[in-house]
Structures are given as structure tokens and as C-alpha cells.
Subunit: 241 residues, 2 copies
């Protein structure tokens, strides 16, 4: 962020940002209107269809993105094809790390997605001038760390039944964080993805879903569309304290 900007009178946020879903939750929420204007000058909005990788092919390798809409899955794959999803990101999270060299993580759109991408060097420059920005990034890392560890407990110590219930509970509480009890939503992941998230096979996921349905914990409509009559019961089935 150019230093002289600090001395300009505060102006309006760019129009495109004012209407932005992530203006208040995402990375941008720590920025002043002036800073936003500067950042916006370098940002690119992109649509990504379900199933496509988010990693810019060859182009600006290093970049940060705000997720405006949709769900991104982060996964790791072994040489023999075994795969594990290690995180899900919902709007208005931002995608920061995966692109940076080192990490062997793949980021892929689970649903149709919209993101707002900034070149890494611009963000890095702003980070060094706006301490709140580093703080914001740090907090997201800590949140992801907590989620990862929570999931380790699920992967290591829960039964297939509990795993599936846990997944449904996770989605129910993230997709549309509204009213407390009755929930209805579309699953952002296919059975294959769910299996890769839970460390199970497709068949086992399917069987456990059926069991939860027969037990009256959930109602299944279109394979993708799920209704949770009582969130409390799902929570219990998930073995969450």
C-alpha cells in the first residue's frame, strides 16, 4: 500500500467492494476505504466451476483469494492415488497458504465458486504496513488449525457412523449459519468427496447415511439435499461433547 495514501482524505470504498459479500467478513474487513481502493486496483474476480482446481495454472503462482461464494476443498494425495481432504473453506474465508511453494496441498472448488484474487506481492506489501492484516491472516490460520485438530479426533477415534454424522453437522453449521434447530441444506460434496474427507469408502458413507435416515436423524431428498429435523440429535450421533 503506497504510503502517501495515508495522507489522503478518506474516500468511499470502491463500488465493487461496497456490494461485496466478503467486505465485512473477509480479509478486506480490516482495511480502510483507501487501502481497499489500492488493493482493488490489483484484484481479479473469478468464477470457478465445481471440480476445477483453484491454483492459477502457471500464471501468478502466488496469490491470496477471498472466497465470495461456494465451498473450496483442500486435499492431499498419495502417490498411489489414496486421497484425504484436509479442510473445507466457506465464504468469506480466504485462501492464503495453499499456493505457496512448499505445501503439497491441492485447492479445488467443491461447488461452483466465486473468488476475488490478489497477487501475493501486493498483499505482502500491505501486510507489512497494516499490522491488522497480519493479525487477520494469523487468526485464520489459528482457526484452520483448530478445525484440523478437531478433525484429527474424528479421523482417529470415531466410528463410521459418528464420522458421517460429524460431517453432516459440520455442513449444517457452516453452510448457512442461521436458525438454531431445524436445518435444511444441499451437501457441497459428492459421496466420493465425503469419503475422502472422512477416511472411509463411498459405500460405507452411503450405508451410514441410510442408517441415519432410518433412525430418523436426517431426511434425504435428492441425494444432495438433506433436512435435519433436530440438530441436537445429529450432534449426539456425531459424538460431540
Amino acid at each position: 500500500m503506497d504510503t502517501y495514501l495515508k495522507h489522503l482524505p478518506e474516500c468511499e470504498a470502491p463500488g465493487v467492494c461496497r456490494a461485496c459479500e466478503a467486505r465485512h467478513g473477509g480479509l478486506c474487513s480490516v482495511l480502510t476505504a483507501n487501502q481497499l481502493t489500492e488493493l482493488n486496483r490489483h484484484s481479479i474476480r473469478r468464477r470457478i466451476d465445481a471440480g476445477n482446481e483453484v491454483i492459477g495454472q502457471g500464471e501468478t503462482v502466488g496469490s491470496y483469494s477471498n472466497i465470495l461464494k461456494g465451498v473450496i476443498k483442500l486435499s492431499k494425495m498419495m502417490a498411489d492415488g489414496r486421497q484425504q481432504i484436509v479442510g473445507l473453506q466457506f465464504a468469506p474465508d480466504f485462501l492464503g497458504r495453499p499456493f505457496l511453494g512448499e505445501s503439497t496441498i491441492t485447492a479445488e472448488a467443491a461447488t461452483d465458486t466465486e473468488i476475488c484474487t490478489f497477487p501475493r506481492n501486493v498483499v505482502d506489501r500491505m501486510v507489512s504496513e497494516v499490522p491488522d492484516m497480519e493479525r487477520k491472516l494469523h487468526n485464520q490460520s489459528l482457526k484452520e488449525l483448530d478445525e484440523a485438530r478437531e478433525w484429527m479426533l474424528t479421523l482417529g477415534r470415531k466410528t463410521a457412523q459418528e464420522k458421517v454424522a460429524n460431517f453432516l453437522y459440520l455442513i449444517a453449521t457452516h453452510i448457512d449459519p442461521d436458525r438454531g434447530n431445524a436445518q435444511t441444506f444441499d451437501l457441497p460434496l459428492s459421496r466420493a468427496d465425503i469419503a475422502d474427507f472422512l477416511g472411509l469408502t463411498i459405500e460405507t458413507v452411503s450405508r451410514q447415511m441410510t442408517k441415519l435416515r432410518k433412525d430418523g436423524v436426517i431426511v434425504i431428498e435428492n441425494n444432495r439435499h438433506v433436512i435435519v429435523p433436530k440438530l441436537e440429535r445429529l450432534r449426539d450421533a456425531a459424538g460431540i461433547d
Copy 2:
């Protein structure tokens, strides 16, 4: 960190710090001698015997610590007693998050341990004045996140054999990061802890250790003492790409 310190001529690091194992790797590595003096004024060195919790009981609830010696295990427990170890920390890592309200993580000394503890408020004050410190903390968080995700792949998709080999490989490469090939070390964890780390039972861990021994991948001496003739073979057994 008191502002006036910035104007004093640079002085020597406190004696106790100069001899400190974590002076160059831990949180303190980003501090100048003056800052170190300030921090040191509030620090407490503690020994913690294996099996004891690190969380100060009631006392200074919020605190950061440098690990000077030993291994700390971070774990989560379910209401019915099922347990999962979600991270191991070695010197000179620092223990930062676990204590902070929210998180339901327990930190416990796996081996006899020495730590250097600072009250949270002092550290927080320094963080706001020394940007490098936030950066350092952020980087550790990112490191832990990478490790957690790596372990999720192990928990979700690897066989018991691969899990145990993975654990041994992890220890071999962290306990004493020296020469590349032949390794010899003491396991910092009991079989029960290893099981809780790998999402297995004690018996399965034991059987897989025996199998690795019979296959000549490792040599076992005192239950705790292990020799790895060829790190490469262990790596292969662990299914690491």
C-alpha cells in the same frame, strides 16, 4: 516492551538467555538484546516431569512458553474417554495457543521437560510493538497447520503398518536432527500414547513394531530405544512419497 528501551544503547543479552538452548530457534530469536532483557524480567523457567500437565492450574492462565528440552504432547479427549493426540512439540518450539480459553486441547509433558514461561500480557504487548514477533508466531502456527494436515492423511488413509512407520519416521527426524542415514533414539511416547497418536490400539502398535523389527526395518532394544539402520527403508514403509 517499554518504548524507552528503544533509545538505550544496545546491551548484552541476559546471562541466562545467552546460555539458553532456545535463544536462536525459539520465540526469542527475533528479539534484540534489550527486548530480551525486558522479556526475561517476567519469565519463569520450569521443569515438568513426564506425565504432568503443562497448563498452570488456576495460576497464570494465559501464557506462552518456549520449550527448552523435551517433548510436549497436545491431545483432545472425548467424554467417553477416547483420546487423540493432535500434535507433538519439540524444543525449541513454543507453546502458544493451547492455554487460551476456547480450545479444548490439553498440553502434557511426554518426557521430562523444561520450559521458559512468559505471561501472556507481556508477550501480547511485545507483539504489538515488534512485528517480527507476530510473524514468528504466525509462522509457527502455519508449521503446526501443515503438520496437522500431514497427519490427517496418515490418520485417514494409511494402514496400521504405515502409521507406525510414519510415527517412527517423525520421531527419527525430529528428536535429534543430525546425520542423514543411520539413526538411534529413545521414543518419547509410551505404546499407549503412540496408539492415541495413530488412532490405533496398543496391541496393534505392538504388533506392527514387531513386524517392522522382523522385516529388519528397525532394531528394538529397551522397548523405548530404537535403531533405524536405513532411514530410507523406514520412509518407504511409511508410504511417504
